[in-house]
Symmetry: C3
Subunit: 470 residues, 3 copies
């Protein structure tokens, strides 16, 4: 048995010994259940080619903005880590040395916990060795591990117990990889596409005009303008449904969902394509589209996930150098109550419409999300996500939403990850946090242990299947 604290069987469980014993028993019900991952950012092609991962830096550092941002905060230039394709000739081993020199900075962070778990449980490297060993030795050892046949993407899927994995895909993606995997009898996980149309709704981003023109051309059934655009979106959703998709994902700026009449929408759409829409007009169009996507979900049954409230690419200078998704999307305050009112008044009473709400603004947990999900049969509480997919925040989430919404409105855990090897750690974390929370309720005589055991299985296994229509 490992002497690492990262392998301690009681990690993340409550310190009080009586409660810890309850938590242990609850955890035992779910710790080995398969992994269901209804939202994430892996590339499905990796399971088609099943190539070995190229090197430790490319696997663990460069593409993971959770990891690179910590280094950046310490003054490391993202170019030295190869972020955003900024430096194609980056020295991978030198990047690893930078990472390992800064390893103490990860203490206490969510990424630090995941990485420790990965080193311990996936790579077989005692995490304390990152403090003591030469980085080049660790790099060499990791390089050997990822060269092994049992470390190919498909083999890891088995090791990780992966049953369902959803990817996030452009509406015009041909979904060839998904098709190939679905047709492959030797590959058992379900790898499902997710319809993510953000690039076609944000007039304020570069590429909007080109994107929608192509969309209408490809899928508009010969219609033009706003009508063709809506028709093309409907058609591509149908295509995704045909390829196994069960959900559509929407990362909007804010939570506004005010619909526009067709004439107004057409007028704004034309301005957006001409590049003459004001920021307010672009926002109004985006809000209208959130409403329209709910309407489409009502009609075609795709689960709708929504996550507004991130100021994307906050550092203009870094965005210019490294592009999007490089660690400086910063949350801001959300107003779900007023924002969602038009959408929910029209579609929210329908139990077949599944509407999963995510946030990075914890203030909405008890103020808005609990009350909304505890009333509307369509509304589900997305798992705490991104910056708040973190041990203490996950606990606060339960403590803040359960009083109003109970446990039945939970989406199931969402890893949302680009880091394949972090999947077991993330799912295991959520299982431990839920065991800890439920054990406290048992200890306070608010639940019987039997009922808590039912609940934890429901949270971990049944909820994501039910909510994401798997």
């Amino acid at each position: 048995m490992s002497t690492s604290h990262a392998a301690h069987p009681d990690r993340l469980l409550p310190v009080d010994s009586t409660t810890r014993a309850v938590a242990r028993r609850l955890l035992a019900h779910v710790e080995d259940l398969p992994v269901i991952s209804p939202h994430g950012h892996l590339d499905p092609a990796m399971f088609v080619t099943d190539d070995p991962f190229p090197d430790p830096t490319t696997l663990l550092i460069t593409p993971d903005h959770y990891v690179t941002r910590v280094l950046h905060s310490a003054g490391v230039d993202l170019a030295d880590l190869g972020v955003g394709g900024s430096n194609p000739d980056v020295d991978k081993q030198a990047a690893w040395r930078i990472f390992q020199q800064h390893w103490p900075l990860y203490a206490g962070t969510a990424s630090g916990y995941w990485l420790e778990q990965e080193f311990e449980h996936v790579f077989g490297i005692h995490p304390e060795r990152l403090n003591t060993d030469d980085p080049d030795d660790i790099y060499a050892e990791l390089s050997e591990v990822i060269a092994r046949p049992d470390f190919r993407p498909r083999a890891l899927a088995d090791t990780f117990g992966l049953e369902v994995l959803a990817t996030t895909d452009d509406p015009l993606d041909d979904l060839a990889a998904h098709r190939t995997l679905a047709a492959d009898p030797t590959f058992s996980p379900r790898v499902l596409p997710t319809f993510r149309p953000d690039a076609y709704t944000k007039m304020y981003n570069a590429g909007f005009a080109e994107n929608v023109e192509k969309l209408i051309d490809v899928a508009g059934d010969g219609q033009t303008g706003y009508a063709g655009y809506l028709q093309a979106l409907r058609n591509r959703r149908a295509y995704f449904l045909d390829h196994g998709a069960t959900s559509a994902d929407h990362g909007t700026h804010n939570a506004d969902t005010t619909p526009l009449d067709d004439a107004t929408a057409q007028r704004l759409f034309d301005k957006g394509r001409a590049g003459t829409a004001t920021r307010a007009e672009a926002a109004a169009f985006e809000a209208n589209m959130t409403y329209r996507f709910a309407e489409m979900s009502r009609d075609d049954g795709l689960v709708m996930t929504l996550h507004p409230g991130a100021y994307r690419n906050h550092s203009a200078s870094a965005f210019a150098r490294f592009g999007a998704d490089t660690g400086h999307d910063i949350p801001f305050a959300l107003d779900y109550t007023r924002g969602l009112q038009p959408l929910l008044s029209d579609f929210g009473e329908n139990p077949d419409f599944h509407f999963v709400l995510f946030t990075m603004d914890e203030t909405v947990f008890s103020r808005e999300l609990g009350p909304l999900a505890g009333y509307y049969p369509s509304v589900y509480l997305g798992a705490p996500w991104w910056f708040i997919d973190e041990i203490d925040a996950m606990n606060r989430y339960r403590a803040a939403t359960t009083g109003a919404a109970g446990f039945s409105r939970y989406s199931g855990f969402i890893d949302d990850t680009r880091a394949y090897c972090s999947i077991p750690a993330r799912h295991n974390t959520s299982r431990r946090v839920d065991a800890a929370y439920l054990a406290r309720l048992v200890g306070e005589h608010r639940l019987t242990e039997d009922r808590a055991a039912d609940i934890i299985v429901d949270l971990i296994d049944s909820s994501p299947r039910r909510v994401f229509k798997l």
Copy 2:
């Protein structure tokens, strides 16, 4: 002794055994004190007629939007529960079956805890039986219980230890029931009216014009327009004071309190009566009236309670079918600091003006309410209310307000209930949560146990008497 977790003497107390022992001792000082309920929504007529409750569904489910919203979130049609008079012929026993089938969904919710306590302590039914027994059997058993003489409203008032109960009343209510009860030497609880003028201040709601016309006719002393309106409100407040009222309750949309000069107020008032006020004008008038009610409270001594920040009747479709107070009032972010500045600058320094602030937006606990109540002698911290009248939120409230405001600015517990049988459970919960919180402070050597014992008696018993001028 019951084997139910709902009867465990240590329920809601801290799990750490040393702290739990302190909490037990603190709780013993207050657990059996009488119930003082300075704000709620019961019908005083029930104590006049003292009729038996008609059936379990009407007593426990239909009128309680805390209970029905959980069922609604699971897809139950509110009409099947008889909500809002939508379905006068609803099958009460079938509604009970629906409730009991969904009983597991209440686990962890505030309503679930209250209901368990009611089944255990009021009805004598082990709450686990709701999971195991036939709903028709439970329904029959409950029907027998509520037919007993010791289950009439007056008998229960004794059982519950009810000393003071405030109701919430329309300004034009004749308060006949209150008068009858006050004159009845055989009935000991004080049942006090509360002046609630919301229907006369919100131009954006249906009925405003008719309401104010009637108000001015009845009580305007022959004056007309805005002056007659203010005079009528003053007169009706005097009438309430004559009938024992000690407080006036105000459920505003937001926290704005900017006063208007008389000419502007008159102009907006005329537009409101004509139905031509814009939303902004209606809001400005409502803000002015919050200020005016503070002015009246300064003059007549009625305690002023304020609870802005709920988006009323959020689901337009449900409102159309079922009317108000059916579970979809949803909180939104409050700004007490800027909103209350005009009112507090003019009246806040007066210790005889009692101004109790409620919120469902926990963010104002440490940011605004603690700092306001810790300075202004008029401002009191309303107990956590509605969605946050919940075990963990009550704990967060103490932890977030005590550092800035201590314990002396607390309003005392407010049950705000429409569910008569939940009163003991709600008050007992608040006593347990306060015992748990204080025991932690003792355990951390921040308070002596003797001082904690003084404080808990003050919180539970003296605070509501002092703040509500009882």
Copy 3:
């Protein structure tokens, strides 16, 4: 050994015995380290004259708005405490009696904890005696204590272990006291000035025109208008740097940092001096100046501290009677993400620019501050400050920021105090709270105890030195 709970060696440590033992060991690493206080409001002249403190009331009550506000909330007139020079003939001993009569109200508050610690550890008075003894006796005893030679300001600096103390100074201050102290070989603490230009940036406050006129006259190098104003600010910053300053402190209304072009800035500046700027224009100018100060900090290296989000002088009636800083600055909701975007896009990527962000709005901990500090190398997390410099809030701060930002982005503890004798209590509190927090992480197997020991020394000692360039 004292029997007072205020002297208990385990005060503020976790109640669970295993975790408490870890916390004790962690605390032992830092409890006796010197005090580094990079931001506060003491008068440096007291160390020059080294006069005895005049009387207990003047030392402990009158100038400390944390203390007087509690009394005010209980209905005490601030004039009876001599606040704001409102009552030069106030009876000091009578004021002390008022304080001691209200002593129970401090239970659970941050000020109450500090005062207890001061009575116990600085004055040698068992804090329970404030409940039992005659106020005149306590007053006499305190008077004796403060007359002792070991109670002079300089002697206390030794007793308190003061190594660094920053004051807060007007840009036109000649810093003579700082110069004297720096030149005095018999005085060992470093007493550093801090550049605080608020009175020169807020057009909406009285005195703006006079202040900037004088500033330009004195330090504008003969330039006039906006250019002379900027030059004068630069010159005075250089003067402060020459006198040992390492930081500039900015208390802005909100977090906006949108820069203005020079012509617009000049135009608003002229209107501000003429007294004709609108509130919006004044806000725009203030935002521009926040941006400009960041630009100056980039150039001259002064650490920039920012603390927006307080509604200053909330009670207009009290402000008219007692002036500023008398207990009714009230926090409101902050928007750091959008507000700081212009500034951070231009300067935030620079690791040599140190930008410390304070808040009293806890909602930004996990939503904005953790994500910002966990990315931008310039951004540091200010310690929880003012109303949230409080035991439970400090714990929430760690729990809310560590997941995203770890420990390395912490500013170190800031006491921000006007109350000299509270310094040991405040710093000791922060050490205990950090020990408690880290002990929990060790107990949950998220950190090894060795690593936690490294971290606590870094938090308490290395962080403030590093962040404030000491």
